[in-house]
């Protein structure tokens, strides 16, 4: 997490002189954090470990409180105990104990309530007042919607009706919304209308945790802090871009949700397209949130629409059958819990997109893919450059290819640049070698988990790494023809790839048409 020079709190124009020039990552504004969906997996696995990590690393403000809100009938102690377990299991900080945990736990409280019950929101309002008095939260509040998406609008409506929204709050009031933001273009627009009625855009934080990962941010540093790459970053020198978000896991306990979502909605429309914008965008005029988001939006506007009658030329879907991963037999998607045995939901999606602007000239394919139960867990962005115009060196059987720059996002985090070099010896054999930079060791410092980074940014009021509405809408527009076509025509070949494989054959053919191939998983 980057150090920032603190803005000294001031009264009557007198700043704290000890703050001047001090580098700190600490959030200065006191606040209350309300987690809707506090008993869910996201809170336990990600949010609470991230919040405790922020506390352990001295990033949370001195005065804060965390309120869990969910339907489950828990009291404060049960909530604390469950969160303690979550932190112990998922925070990689050891078992929480000692004075820092005790102080943190004291600031946790819980409200059991329905999302559609006015009286529960009145209870929340009273509780927020109590918390503000006890922990000096200054009336600032961050709401985090970690619930199923179907209740997002409901919660926002009730916050407004109970004067818990920006109009009724003394300090700042922000809303963090988890993905997916809608299930299609129309539902996203409807959700946006509900939210913007209550929260101005400047107070809405649409979270995409991929954007909080260090290598994703480093992609911007790599492009715009180095002179050597940017001159090559265009249709003249780049041959193609591949963005992969491959998982080995299946749907786990999320069969019900996944049946309605599928890989295109769940991954491509948000994470993967977001990554594409970072690769393709122009340099922003400054590092402020809107300059960056303006450039990302321009990319999305420039994506050539996929003709609905030619979707098969640009998109491939797949669904996994039974197979083997890591020596273990795993069931087919249709045999997973809460999944229709005749399901038409795709667990793999691949798109080929073109960007019609000056930089990319509408001629460089951007290949996007995401799937479950694939051979290897791997998320990366690979920029492949064109071949040299004339092969001067190397023997016939030498295997060397174009240069590629790969930003590894997970499980490894780093950058890898491949280039061709002479193999030692009297003959002029050429071999592809790579230069690797690994985040885990490169700087010898801890890299904050994505949720820590993004929660801290939301608490600071920095929207840079959050998705603006215009980008969400534009991303839905890109995938809408594919969603429509797939909905109209059920897949006849499902399941069409075995668990533990590279994905469906049709995906290989999608690239073969361009004389390209997917990077192996």
């Amino acid at each position: 997490m980057a150090g920032v020079t603190a803005t000294a709190p001031q009264v009557d124009g007198r700043p704290n002189p000890l703050r001047a020039g001090l580098q700190t990552t600490r959030i200065t504004d006191p606040c209350a954090i309300v987690l809707f969906g506090a008993t869910g997996d996201l809170t336990k696995r990600m949010l609470m470990p991230a919040l405790y990590g922020l506390r352990q690393n001295d990033v949370l403000p001195a005065d804060f409180a965390i309120i869990g809100y969910s339907r489950t009938e828990w009291n404060d102690d049960q909530f604390r105990e469950a969160m303690k377990e979550g932190i112990a299991d998922f925070a990689q900080l050891g078992r929480p104990e000692g004075p820092i945990w005790e102080d943190f736990a004291r600031r946790l409280s819980y409200i059991s309530g329905d999302f559609d019950d006015d009286s529960c929101y009145r209870k929340l309002r009273r509780h927020l007042d109590e918390v503000a008095a006890e922990f000096q939260t200054g009336g600032n509040v961050l709401y985090y919607l970690a619930t199923p998406p179907v209740v997002f609008a409901e919660i926002v409506r009730h916050l407004d009706a109970s004067e818990l929204g920006p109009k009724g709050t003394k300090g700042w009031c922000r809303l963090v919304v988890e993905k997916p933001f809608g299930t299609d273009l129309e539902s996203a627009r409807a959700l946006q209308r509900e939210i913007e009625r209550v929260f101005p855009e400047k107070q809405i934080y649409r979270i995409d945790h991929y954007l909080g990962k260090e290598p994703v941010q480093d992609l911007m540093a790599l492009r715009f802090s180095n002179m050597i790459f940017e001159p090559l970053w265009n249709y003249r020198y780049v041959k193609s871009v591949q963005i992969t978000a491959a998982e080995t896991v299946g749907v786990e306990k999320r069969g019900g949700y996944y049946e309605r979502a599928g890989a295109l909605r769940d991954m491509i429309q948000n994470h993967v397209i977001n990554l594409m914008t970072l690769v393709a965008m122009e340099p922003p005029v400054s590092s402020d949130a809107d300059s960056l988001r303006d450039e990302k939006f321009k990319v999305l506007r420039a994506v050539r629409p996929i003709p609905i009658d030619r979707v098969d030329e640009f998109a491939v879907r797949g669904q996994y059958g039974a197979g083997e991963i890591g020596g273990q037999n795993v069931p087919a998607y249709r045999d997973e819990p809460d999944v229709d045995p005749h399901s038409n939901t795709e667990t793999y999606a691949a798109l080929k997109l073109y960007i019609d602007n000056w930089r990319w000239g509408g001629m460089i394919p951007f290949y996007l893919r995401s799937g479950k139960r694939l051979r290897r867990k791997n998320s990366e962005i690979a920029v492949t450059f064109r071949n040299v115009p004339h092969r001067l060196f190397g023997e016939q059987d030498d295997e060397f290819g174009p240069n590629s720059l790969v930003a590894k996002i997970q499980p490894e985090e780093g950058i890898s640049l491949s280039f061709n070099a002479k193999y030692p010896g009297p003959a002029m054999h050429i071999r592809t070698v790579s230069m690797d930079f690994a985040y885990g060791q490169g700087f010898g410092v801890r890299t904050a988990p994505a949720y820590e980074r993004l929660l801290a940014d939301a608490l600071r009021g920095d929207q840079t790494l959050f998705t603006r509405w215009d980008a969400v809408e534009a991303a839905w527009k890109i995938v809408t023809p594919v969603l429509d076509a797939w909905q109209k025509t059920p897949a006849e070949d499902f399941p069409n790839y075995a668990a533990g494989s590279q994905g469906p054959k049709a995906a290989e053919e999608l690239l073969a048409a361009e004389r390209d191939a997917w990077r192996p998983l």
Binding site: N16, L18, G21, L22, P99, I100, Q441, F443, G444
Partner: protein, 331 residues
């Protein structure tokens, strides 16, 4: 062993490793020179240096002034990160049999050509004649003014910086104080308390050695516009009022364990718990006692050295604080 023999041995090591396909990545982005004169600290310093070399891809030149090593030693050490193996070269040179000119010549010959060199000077004597000569080879230098145990390192470092203001000198005693500077600032984030800084009467510090205490007190002084005269433990405010600095030796060398700021009948205290990971902050007055605990962010030795040598650019607060700290210890 001559330098030529050492270079030949390094070459042989590379070839051997390459044949065995062990050395998938050979680190060669910088040279890290480490000078150590403390036999007790040698193992810890060399372990940390190896970790830094692996992390930053450095050839490691260990200059042993302890007398523990009697011959030159050349080796490669490797670290496995996932599927990658990264190997670094290490050369250990015993200094007892070499004069300064010889040491310097050998080091120069063993530096990776065209790549930056970094110096970790782990020695209590900053007035050693070898120090400025090695410093001249390095892009950045890290020392620890706490090592001498009496604060005189601050005076030496101040002299060195005044002679070469752009020498890229960093002090571990200053870096270790970062969390304490943050804690001190935190007391006055409450806007109602800012005025009390104007009436500060006494800065009391407890630490294992005086350098880090003097640096923290001096930093507070610089932030508040104080001045000091040599051979006095008094700081003078811009209005001419005197503020007393007191130091009590307590705890481990190099570590601060408590800070007290006294303003009339009000005392602000930051006291580290025995494990050093938690600090209890308190504002105490006749009618109020408000305390809370805060995590103390502590870096390992290798992380501190790594940050000092390879981390982001300098810290503008250090040089003025060093000037004032030198006045406080020069008594």
């Amino acid at each position: 062993m001559s330098v030529e023999t050492i270079v030949a041995e390094l070459h042989r090591l590379r070839e051997t490793q390459s044949e065995r396909e062990v050395m998938s990545a050979t680190a060669a982005t910088s040279s890290l020179i480490v000078y150590c004169d403390d036999a007790q600290a040698w193992d810890g310093i060399t372990d940390s240096a190896r970790q830094i070399a692996i992390a930053h891809g450095a050839r490691l030149l260990l200059l042993d002034a302890t007398g523990l090593n009697h011959g030159e030693h050349v080796c490669a050490f490797c670290s496995r990160e996932g599927t990658d193996t990264i190997c670094c070269e290490q050369v250990t040179l015993p200094l007892v049999t070499r004069d300064h000119a010889m040491i310097l010549a050998d080091v120069e010959d063993l530096l990776l050509p065209g790549l930056p060199a970094y110096l970790w000077w782990s020695c209590r004597r900053l007035d050693d004649g070898l120090f400025p000569r090695l410093r001249a080879l390095a892009k950045r230098v890290v020392v620890d003014t706490s090592l001498d145990g009496n604060g005189h390192g601050l005076l030496e470092l101040e002299r060195a910086l005044s002679r070469e203001p752009h020498a890229g000198l960093r002090d571990l005693a200053w870096l270790r104080g970062a969390s304490w500077r943050e804690m001190a600032a935190r007391f006055f984030d409450d806007p109602r308390r800012v005025d009390e800084l104007e009436r500060l009467e006494k800065i009391e510090l407890q630490s294992g050695t005086p350098a880090e205490a003097a640096l923290l007190a001096a930093w507070i002084g610089v932030q508040l516009g104080y001045t000091a005269t040599r051979k006095s433990r008094q700081l003078t405010t811009p209005t001419g009022r005197q503020v007393t600095f007191t130091y009590t030796r307590r705890g481990k060398p190099g570590e601060i364990c408590a800070l007290f700021l006294r303003v009339g009948r009000v005392t602000y205290s930051a006291v580290a718990e025995s494990d050093g990971h938690v600090v209890n902050l308190c504002r105490e007055s006749p009618d109020e006692h408000r305390g809370r605990c805060e995590p103390m962010i502590r870096s390992s030795l290798e992380m501190s050295v790594s940050e000092a040598l390879y981390g982001p650019g300098g810290d503008g607060g250090f040089t003025p604080a060093l000037g004032l700290a030198a006045c406080l210890v020069d008594s």
